[in-house]
């Protein structure tokens, strides 16, 4: 039977809202996120069969959970009958002192927060490649379909499908337990979670490839994941630091793209188009991160503090570049990287003149890590232009245009070069 589009849309929405918690709850019971996802999907299929005639139930989340629970018990019984050796699942459940006959939905309700936290630590587990973590997190936590992930990352659907299947297999083969890591491991494991969310955001914020300069839907997905994490792990300063960074960066999205899709860089943006609701949310999150005090800023909070300097300035001239230089100094100590150094050079040039920045940039030219990084010649070109060394500037901008993978950015660089 064909499903009326309105009902299909309603079911999609319920799935997006409920799937993460459904999968997380089931994963705790069966100990395997692949099995948990299958069970949740089965419940979704049942909904697609029944809701078009019965209507969407009053509490669709509970309905899905009850249905998945029945499937889980059925599956357990079948497995027991088929092969006594495959009692693994049953034993798992017994060892957790939950009998299959107990009201699992209620048991699950008591642990929603913990389960989601376990799920996010599992999908971001270090045994997985970064790409696999990103795909699995978007799929299981973000509720995105394989199609949506494929579109977001400009990859064929089959590639993403295989990536997710392989990731689930890797987790099962490595016997990764479905749990929140112990205190001793927590910082490192949390780092992996934050990295995945930031990667998703950045792929949306400055697409590394393709025609579009920004893909805002990915930014939104990352922002939601970050906000979820902040609710789940409110005692982690860096979680708030990351959320602050994402909220403030996201506040600029609509100012970052011109009418023809061309990128507009920070200092040229119309600040009236910045999203002040997101800025205030970002500044509030930064305050929460700062309230932890003690160890000082983590790398995400530091980057958020830098973003906040821009957000607080009503005009580019009001920007507190000296403070930004100090924050980049701190960031470079905490997270020494040539990219941070390049950004520090830009801040230095704004605070103390182009020559001060150029000195740092020139030192970076020998760094092999930046050999193909288009922003190095791009920044160097800008600084040379400001110093009136136009011929050298043109060479750098041309080089930058050749290196970038993004066609919008290439056009912008060539335009700059021609304007010199």
């Amino acid at each position: 039977m064909a499903i009326p589009p309105k009902v299909a849309e309603a079911i999609d929405a319920v799935w997006r809202i409920e799937s993460a918690r459904l999968i997380a709850g089931l994963a705790r019971l069966v100990g395997d996120i692949g099995v948990a996802e299958d069970l949740a999907q089965d419940a979704l299929v049942a909904a697609l069969e029944q809701w078009p005639t019965s209507g969407v139930p009053d509490n669709p989340g509970a309905w899905l959970m009850a249905t998945a629970k029945h499937r889980a018990i059925d599956q357990l019984r079948r497995r027991k009958m088929l092969d006594q050796k495959h009692e693994h699942l049953g034993r798992e459940m017994e060892s957790r002192q939950i009998s299959p006959e107990a009201d699992l939905a209620e048991a699950i309700d008591d642990h929603v927060g913990d389960d989601l936290l376990r799920l996010i630590f599992t999908t971001c587990h270090p045994v997985l490649t970064t790409e696999a973590r990103v795909a699995l997190t978007l799929r299981l936590l973000g509720g995105l379909t394989t199609d949506e992930i494929a579109r977001a990352f400009l990859q064929p659907k089959t590639t993403i499908q295989q990536r997710i299947v392989r990731a689930k297999r890797t987790l099962a083969a490595a016997r990764v337990p479905f749990e929140v890591p112990a205190r001793t491991e927590l910082a490192a494991r949390l780092g992996s979670v934050l990295e995945v969310i930031y990667l998703i955001f950045n792929e949306g914020y400055s697409a590394t490839a393709g025609e579009d300069w920004v893909r805002p839907a990915l930014c939104d997905d990352a922002l939601r994941l970050g906000r979820i994490l902040a609710e789940l792990a409110p005692d982690e300063a860096e979680v708030h630091g990351l959320v602050a960074l994402l909220e403030i960066q996201a506040s600029r999205i609509r100012a970052r793209v011109g009418p023809d899709g061309e990128p507009i860089l920070l200092l040229q943006q119309d600040r009236g188009r910045w999203d002040h609701l997101l800025i205030s949310r970002g500044l509030a999150a930064l305050e929460r991160a700062e309230a932890f005090g003690g160890g000082g800023y983590g790398p995400y909070a530091l980057q958020a503090a830098i973003a906040a300097c821009h957000a607080r300035a009503r005009t580019p001239e009001e920007t507190d570049w000296t403070r930004i230089v100090a924050l980049y100094d701190a960031l470079a100590q905490l997270l020494p990287s040539p990219v941070v150094e390049l950004n520090r050079a830009v801040a230095l040039s704004m605070a103390f003149g182009p020559a001060a920045g150029l000195e740092v940039v020139d030192a970076l030219r020998a760094d092999p890590a930046l050999a193909t990084y288009h922003l190095l010649p791009s920044v160097r070109g800008d600084l040379l232009a400001k110093l009136g060394r136009l011929e050298e500037a043109r060479v750098e901008l041309k080089h930058a245009a050749e290196l970038t993978q993004n066609s919008r950015e290439r056009k912008l660089l060539l335009k700059k070069m021609e304007a010199l």
Binding site: E9, A10, D12, A13, V14, R16, I17, A20, D58, V112, G113, L116, V214, P216, A217, D220, D221, L223, R224, L225, G226, R227, I228, E231, L232, I253, R254, V257, G261, D275, L277, R281
Partner: protein
């Protein structure tokens, strides 16, 4: 995509019971936990407010209450969700929370905020 949901009802002076407020707060917490709640709030009686109008280039103020109004805004929420349907589902849950605890008619206007992304044409 951001949606503002605007709750409207007749202004009868009835206040939501603590039980209803708790349900609404719980729903708000659930939406926050799922990363979709941007902000929500309830509005006080119109007697404490005022209206400002621009007519023919002239600005006038009138103090509340808005006794002539059939319905007034009682509260709002802002959701950041992937689709309109998600906003409708949260609104359905909001209305459901009132069943048995609120006996007057309620209407919720679900409106997309024009602050979204360039791709949405704004």
């Amino acid at each position: 995509m951001r949606y503002m949901t605007i709750v409207k009802s007749r202004e009868t002076g009835a206040r939501p019971s603590p039980a209803l407020i708790e349900r609404i707060m719980k729903l708000g917490e659930e939406a926050s936990g799922k990363g979709v709640m941007v902000g929500m709030g309830g509005l006080g009686p119109t007697a404490l407010g005022a209206r400002a109008r621009l007519v023919n280039g002239k600005i006038t103020f009138t103090d509340g209450p808005f006794s002539e109004a059939k319905e007034v805004i009682g509260g709002f929420a802002i959701y950041d969700v992937p689709s309109k349907q998600d906003a409708l589902e949260w609104t359905r849950r909001f209305l459901e929370a009132h069943i048995g605890l609120w006996d007057q008619e309620l209407e919720v206007e679900v409106r997309q905020m024009m602050d979204g992304n360039p791709s949405e044409g704004c």
